[in-house]
């Protein structure tokens, strides 16, 4: 969309980078605020015209458009009018998934991380299987929170490689509600991933199960903690984290089982600190 001369003039009111390439000189807050408010009044057409000005890094000068779009995201959050914020977020989200360069879409996803809400989780969820966009999409989803678990859970069966790792880890971040965990492939898929051939996947899955606080995962995680090196350290952490979450949920029996196992198996001097941590927690949990 070709920008109107009025929009071009408003965008040009954004500051020019100074001699060091920074926004440190002649930064006029009032001028910026007024220009952004006027651009916002122009609605959807203005937002899309600004998005049209964005280019991938190194492919042209979009410094002012880049800053303008971010200022608009801040502006709609500042208005404390959720309709205005939603309208802005939907417009930005409508530009995802098409022919725009991936680097530009990545920036749009980051804008949604600032100002998006439940209304854009579907659009973000579709990007979870895109190798280039899954990471920022997952980050925006977990930042938004509301509705993120369902998107991540749905993407898990189709996610491959880097996307799979991202989805598994972020399932642990959002700690999906019980009804989603019980669906076929939910927690079971994570348990299976604890024995994946990729070490990053194994560690992420163990941590996700621990963070979710799944009581049926104790044995899986304790077995994982028999590994060596970094994986042993991380799986042991997952065991301790799971036990803490189980205790917080009143599931003392399962927690005591984990602590007892760690107390009895961490017998080398180099792992004394784990044994001590388990012993301390056992005492607090009322175990022997």
């Amino acid at each position: 969309m070709k920008p109107s001369s009025k929009l071009t003039s408003l965008v040009n009111q954004m500051p020019d980078p100074d001699g060091r390439g920074m926004y440190c000189t002649d930064i006029d807050k009032d001028k910026i605020d007024k220009a952004i408010a006027q651009i916002h009044k122009g609605g959807r057409n203005n937002i899309i015209a600004i998005i049209d000005m964005l280019v991938p890094p190194g492919k042209g000068d979009d410094v002012k458009a880049h800053y303008t779009l971010h200022c608009l995201a801040l502006h709609v959050c500042k208005l404390k009018d959720d309709n205005q914020r939603r309208r802005f977020a939907r417009t930005v989200a409508s530009q995802l998934g098409g022919d725009r360069p991936k680097a530009v879409q990545k920036y749009l996803v980051r804008i949604l991380q600032v100002a998006g809400g439940k209304e854009v989780v579907g659009a973000l969820g579709e990007l979870l299987v895109d190798e280039e966009l899954c990471e920022p999409a997952a980050q925006a989803l977990v930042a938004i929170g509301n509705g993120a678990a369902r998107q991540l859970r749905s993407a898990l069966p189709n996610a491959r490689g880097r996307c799979r790792l991202t989805v598994i880890q972020n399932l642990g971040v959002v700690r999906p509600p019980a009804f989603l965990r019980k669906q076929e492939g939910g927690v079971d898929a994570l348990k299976k991933a604890v024995t994946d051939e990729d070490q990053d996947i194994r560690i992420a899955a163990a941590w996700a199960l621990a963070n979710i606080g799944d009581p049926g995962s104790a044995n899986v995680l304790l077995r994982a903690a028999d590994a060596e090196g970094w994986e042993r350290i991380q799986a042991t952490k997952a065991c301790l984290l799971l036990a803490e979450n189980l205790l917080a949920a009143g599931k003392n029996y399962e927690a005591v089982k984990i602590y007892t196992h760690l107390r009895d198996t961490r017998t080398e001097p180099a792992e004394r600190y784990v044994r001590d941590a388990a012993k301390k927690a056992l005492t607090a949990a009322g175990g022997k």
Binding site: Y23, I27, K29, H66, H70, C71, K78, Q139, Q169, I233
Partner: protein, 403 residues
């Protein structure tokens, strides 16, 4: 006891010397203590992040630490996985490393600190302790879970006004009307980021993916590394976080705010850039008890003029309270890192208090970045009534990195 036999810290803790420490017939110079370091007590040390602050931070570990590993993402092609590493996880696997000095850019501070504690090591971490608030809570939880020693590499509280600390912790001051204004020194302009960077080829010696770590994988530009990384939200938070922990560790200790945070934060600044840290004028942070803290950059816009400096002193107490104060014990002596790892006493700049200190700067930056007055719940450590601002309290990490 063989005088020159090398005893590792773990052997020490296991009881070979620790057990006899209970008997007073053992001379003090053998047991250690302030100014008495037994020559046999050698700790295995590692330095992670070998840039500008690397050696200085490592030296802060104390005199009896032997450097056994160095690790930096810029060592690609130079590693031997015995002394020189690019991946800190390999260092964590080593059982002969007891203490770790962390001098990486701040976006790695929390994760490496936590990993070190999970591996049973003690940590001296360069300031600022973290990149966002939730990281600090996670470090403090790991410190507690694994009972490790952690100290942040700034020592403001060690030169604090102890009388003020005593007044503030005494409970004798009924109302705190103090206003603490820090004028200038934040290096706002110096540690700003570039808004017009263009992609550059990644140097062969640099593992750029590992450098970015938990932060978004951006294109490479040298300004994002080597000290000037401070100017980017991805890695630090400008001069605010870089200098703030120096300034306010002392404030936090003197005013007894180690267990809490401000409840209302307001900033005067132009709209922030999404990636590059930039200019701000001042930030006002109010505590629930009435104490006001102000950061006045003196580098942009109008100067702060809402309130005037007013400190707490003995004259704020009536005569009866002053008498009571004199009868109270003085604040506990502070414990430095070398003493802490030797005695297993908690270091005075431990994770929980250092987290509260760096939270000040994170809250200020959130107010700057959102352009909104924010309200903070210091118990839940959440921003109240502003879902979008709250997203900056706990920022997502790039897999496989997580807290």
């Amino acid at each position: 006891m063989q005088k020159n036999k090398r005893v590792t810290r773990r052997q020490f803790l296991k009881g070979s010397i620790g057990a006899v420490a209970a008997f007073t017939i053992v001379p003090r110079h053998v047991l250690g203590g302030p100014g008495h370091m037994p020559p046999s007590e050698t700790f295995g040390g590692a330095l992670i992040g070998c840039g500008g602050r690397g050696n200085g931070t490592f030296n802060g570990l104390g005199p009896n630490v032997e450097k056994r590993a160095i690790c930096d993402v810029k060592f690609v092609g130079k590693t031997d996985n015995k002394m020189v590493y690019t991946d800190f996880r390999r260092v964590m696997e080593r059982k002969d490393i007891d203490v770790v000095a962390i001098a990486t850019p701040p976006h790695w501070h929390a994760l490496i600190s936590i990993a070190a504690m999970e591996a049973g090591k003690d940590i001296l971490c360069e300031k600022p302790m973290t990149r966002f608030i939730a990281e600090g809570r996670a470090v403090a939880e790991a410190e507690k879970r694994y009972n490790r020693i952690f100290q942040v590499g700034t020592y403001g509280r060690f030169s604090a006004n102890r009388e003020r600390r005593k007044i503030m912790t005494s409970g004798l001051l009924k109302e705190c009307k103090a206003v603490y204004i820090k004028h200038g020194g934040f290096k706002v302009r110096e540690w700003s980021g570039m808004v017009n960077v263009k992609p550059q080829p990644i140097p062969r010696s640099l593992d750029w993916d590992m450098y970015c770590g938990p932060s978004p994988l951006r294109f490479y530009h040298p300004h994002r590394t080597g000290g000037t990384h401070r100017g980017y939200w991805d890695y630090e938070g400008g001069g605010m976080t870089d200098m703030g922990q120096h300034f306010f560790d002392r404030f936090q200790y003197e005013y007894a705010k180690d267990d809490t945070s401000p409840v209302e934060i307001e900033a005067y600044a132009p709209p922030a850039h999404p990636e590059a840290c930039g200019m701000w004028g001042w930030v006002e942070l109010k505590y629930a008890d009435g104490l006001t803290l102000v950061f006045d950059s003196e580098e942009w816009g109008e100067r702060y003029n809402r309130k005037e400096d007013r400190s707490v002193s003995i004259s704020d107490l009536n005569e009866q309270s002053q008498r009571k104060l004199r009868e109270m014990p003085d604040p506990e002596p502070l414990v430095g890192f070398p003493e802490a790892i030797r005695t297993r006493k908690q270091a005075s700049g431990h994770a929980a208090v250092s987290h509260r200190c760096v939270t000040l700067m994170h809250l200020a930056n959130i107010a700057i970045r959102t352009g909104r007055k924010i309200h903070y719940d210091p118990v839940k450590e959440q921003i109240i009534g502003d879902e979008e601002a709250n997203r900056l309290v706990n920022q997502p990490m790039r897999a496989p990195w997580h807290l």
